[in-house]
Point group: C2
Chain length 153, copies 2
DNA sequence: GTCCCTTTCGAGAACGGTTCTCATTCTAGT
DNA sequence: ACTAGAATGAGAACCGTTCTCGAAAGGGAC
């Protein structure tokens, strides 16, 4: 029963419902993983999660848990610059946001963009994609730079 | 000496010079890889390249070639939704562009955005990142959608 | 051309993150 | 309690990628 972070009740309820719809249980491990993701400032790697959960969770269970949550649309899977998988709560739980990526240490941090800009971007994205015949379902912006910590070296 | 695609002379010259600066040769395999990347409509996986080069290039050589070209700043390494590596010519050879990603088949295609939009985005990106203390070095936009081929199913 | 030095190459082993297998344990509903 | 389905833990298997090492090739000096 690992749990380092506390889980906001609204997310708790939403996830429990979503899992219930799929005849899946909201087990302690799943809850702990969701809690860590909810508390994180950006998407986490499985290794990050193992560290934060105190390695009480076996590797295979963690991956399976993440796969289950992914299939249930609760988490979203991305990949960082090194190609390793990172998980974050899905947009309907976490809100629409983008990523700031440090080219030095690889840290990924969530950022939100003011709504006006966001709708400008959405319009642009729709237009561009339509010209190529794609049916747009979303977009993702990664801003690359050097974080303050890495800049000091 | 695999070569399926022809290499534009301007790229040819630029790459040859860049390699020469690093005391590296522009061997047939390297040329063939660059030619394939130059001819592609989007970033390619090592597997894509092996296929296009007719498997005349051994896996280890391909990866080494790509690493060499990467170190020389000739190609750029990204990762697709499945986490596998994709290579494309670096921006100074290929121009600044973004990616259209098909959520169905995983295909990645280059798209260019009109210059006004691009500078709007650059301004936004700079502003947002500065607020977080990051020193911005670039940005990347992936537009997710369904390609026409996948939409037909 | 031939020698030498360095770079490149090919084949296969090694690696590391992720997934799979399977036997065991848990849980909810009866 | 009993049982069927779900979840778990340990380890093997997988697969994309990197490393190792001996052989081959390129380029300059003579």
């Amino acid at each position: 029963m690992p749990s380092t972070a506390t889980l906001p009740t609204d997310i708790e309820r939403a996830v429990r419902t979503r899992l219930g719809d799929r005849a899946a249980r909201f087990t302690p491990t799943r809850r702990a993983v969701v809690a860590e993701l909810a508390a994180a400032e950006g998407p986490l790697t499985p290794a990050d999660l193992l560290r934060r959960l105190g390695a009480r969770v076996p590797v295979s269970s963690l991956y399976r848990t993440l796969a289950t949550l992914d299939e249930g649309g609760i988490v979203h899977r991305t990949h960082d610059a090194e190609g390793i998988t990172r998980f974050e709560l899905a947009e309907w739980l976490n809100g629409h946001h983008h990523h700031l990526v440090c080219v030095g240490c690889g840290e990924v941090r969530d950022i939100e963009i003011n709504g006006d800009w966001e709708s400008t971007i959405a319009a642009l994205v729709g237009r561009v994609a339509a010209a190529s015949g794609y049916a747009v379902s979303g977009h993702r912006i990664d801003i690359e730079g050097t974080c303050t910590r890495c800049a000091e070296n």
